[in-house]
Amino acid sequence: MALPNGRDWFGLNSGLCIHPFNLAKELSATGHRQCWAQIFDLRKEAIQVGRIASDAKSVMQHAQENQNQVETGGSTGQPCPERNDLTPGRSNSPSLQSAGEFAHTQQADVFERFFTLSLDMMCVAAPDGYFKRVNPAFKALGYSERELLTRPFIGFVHPADVNATLLEVEKLAQNVPSVHFENRYRCRDGTYRWLSWTTAPDASGTLYAIGRDVTEMKRTQDALARAKEAADAANAELEAFSYSVAHDLRAPLRSIDGFSQALFEDFADKLDDGGRRHLRFVRESAQRMAQLIDDILKLAHVTRQDLVRRPVDVSAAARAVCVRLERAEPDRVVEVNIEPGLCCQGDARLLGVVFDNLIGNAWKFTSKRQGARIDVGAVKKGNVTEFFVRDNGAGFDMAYASKLFGVFQRLHTSDEFEGTGVGLATVQRIVSRHGGVVRAESQANAGATFYFTLSETETII
C-alpha cells in the first residue's frame, strides 16, 4: 500500500521500521481515516512483520562485527535483543546502539536503583512485542534474563489470556494507559502465576509496565469465597435443623402439659393436694422446657442473622423497650432516664434484642426495689463509645461475674427471679458480632451496670 509521503507500508525497503500503530496515528492526522480499519485488522501481522524487519537489521549489524560476547548482566547488565543461540554477554559494541536507547544515564541513576530494588516486576517492552528490559523481580518466573528478552512477551501468556492481552496492547497503542490488567504468565517450570499489570505507553509506542504477582491474593480470595459458601451452607443446614427441632420437641411437651391438665380436671375428686401438686410440677416443667427451646432458638437465630450496619438511633431503641415494659406492667413505678441523641453504626434489629435483654433484666431485677431506677447512656473511651444500662436493683456478686454470660448460667434462683439464663449469652453474641465487648459491674443489692461497645474501629476488616 503506497502512502502519501511516499513511504511504503513498513518502510522495509528504506530500512526503517515503523510501528504500525504510530503509522495509524500519522494517517489519521493526515486525514486518511479510511485506513484505520485495515490497519487494525493487520495489527498482528504488522507486529510480526515489524519484528522480521528488526531481526534483519540486527542480524546485519552483528554480521558486521567481530566476535561479540554479550553476557547476561547482573542487575546492571544491559539486555540484548538476541534472536538466536548466540551466547549472551555484556558488550560495549556500537552495534548495540539499539539497546543503547535504553542505556542508563546520569539522570536515570535513580530510576536504575528503584528498577533494581523493586519487589514488583518492572519492564520495558517495545512495539515489536519483545521485552527490552526486565528488572530482577522477574526472577520469580524462573527464566533467565536472556530467555525473557528473546521471546515475544505474548509467548509467556496463558493461552486463555492471549486475546485479552492483545486487546489490552491495542488499547495501549491508542495511548490509553492500562491499570490492573490481570493475566497469567507461564513460569519456567510450567506452572502459571497471576500477574496484575499497570502499563503506560510513550509517544513512540514503547510500553512501561509494572507487574504485581497476585497469585497468592487470588488464592486467598478464592479460599475466602469458598469458606463463605461453606459457612452459608452450614448456616442453612443449622436453620433447617433448628426449625425441625423446635417443631418436633414442642409436640410431646404439649401432650405432657395437656394430659396432666386433663387428669387434673377429670379426676379432681380422686386427687388430694399432693396429687394436684405433682401434676402442677409436671405442667410447670413442660412449660419451662418450651421456654428454653424458644430461648435457644432465639440465640441460634441471632448468630445466624446477617449483620446489617446502619446508623441507629440508640436512644430511641432503648425508649421503645421501656415503653413495651411499662405497657406490660402498668402498675410498676420505675424511673427511667435515657440519654438523648445516642447513636451508633450497627444492626438495628439486633441492637433491639440487646436492649430487650439488658433493660428487661434491669426491669426484672428492680422489681423488689422501692424507688426503682434505670439509666441508659454512653461514655467515650478514646474514640470508642461505651453504652451502658444501669439499675439500682438486686445486683450480683462480682465473684461470679465470669459466669454471667454463659448459656443457661444464672446467678439467682428461679424463686428469686425467673429466667432461663440465655439473655446475657445472647447479648454477648450480638455484641461480639459487632466487633465489640460487653462487661458488667455490680454490688450485691446495690444494682448493676452493663457496659457494651459496638465498635467497628476495633475490628480488622
Binding site: 417443631h247 414442642r250 404439649r254 402439659d257 395437656g258 413442660a286 412449660q287 422446657m289
Partner: protein, 150 residues
C-alpha cells in the same frame, strides 16, 4: 317456615392423635354448637373439601365454616392443602386458620401469602390453649361473617 339450622362444621386437619384429642377437648369447652370433622393428613382434608374419594358421599351443604389447619402433615402438608383449596372455585373463600407449633417467620409469611385468614401458634400450656380455642370458636363460628356457599 323456619329451617333448623344445621350445626356449623369445623374441619380439623391434624395428624397427631394426642394433639387431636387435646384440640377436641378444648373445643368442647367453647359454648358454641358445632360439628367437628377430623382429617389426619392433607389428602383426607382435600377429599372432604372436594367431596371425593372416601368422602364422595359427603352432603354438599356440610362445607366447613372454618378449617383449623396444621402445617406439618404426612402426604400433603398444610401449605399445599391451602394452595389447592384457594385455587378451586368451591373452596377458595373458606376461612382457614393455621394452627401450628411453628412461629417461624417463613411459615407465617408463606401461610399468609397463600391466603390463610389467621395464624395461631399452639401453646404448650394447655390452659392457654383452651382459652385460645374458646375465643377462636366464638369468633369464627359466631362473630365472623362468611359468604354463602356456592
Amino acid at each position: 317456615m323456619s329451617t333448623a339450622e344445621a350445626p356449623k362444621v369445623i374441619l380439623l386437619v391434624e395428624d397427631n392423635p394426642m394433639d387431636e384429642e387435646l384440640a377436641l377437648r378444648a373445643l368442647k369447652k367453647s359454648s358454641v354448637a358445632y360439628t367437628v370433622v377430623v382429617a389426619h393428613d392433607g389428602v383426607e382434608a382435600l377429599d372432604y373439601l372436594f367431596a371425593r374419594g372416601a368422602c364422595a358421599s359427603r352432603a354438599p351443604e356440610a362445607m366447613p365454616q372454618v378449617i383449623l389447619l396444621d402445617l406439618k402433615l404426612p402426604r400433603l402438608d398444610g401449605l399445599e392443602v391451602l394452595k389447592s383449596l384457594r385455587l378451586d372455585e368451591r373452596t377458595k373463600l373458606l376461612s382457614v386458620v393455621i394452627l401450628t407449633s411453628s412461629l417461624e417467620e417463613q411459615d407465617l409469611v408463606r401461610g399468609y401469602t397463600l391466603g390463610a385468614n389467621s395464624y395461631v401458634r399452639k401453646p404448650v400450656d394447655f390452659v392457654e390453649f383452651t382459652e385460645a380455642v374458646k375465643q377462636m370458636g366464638r369468633y369464627w363460628l359466631t362473630t365472623n361473617a362468611v359468604p354463602p356457599h356456592a
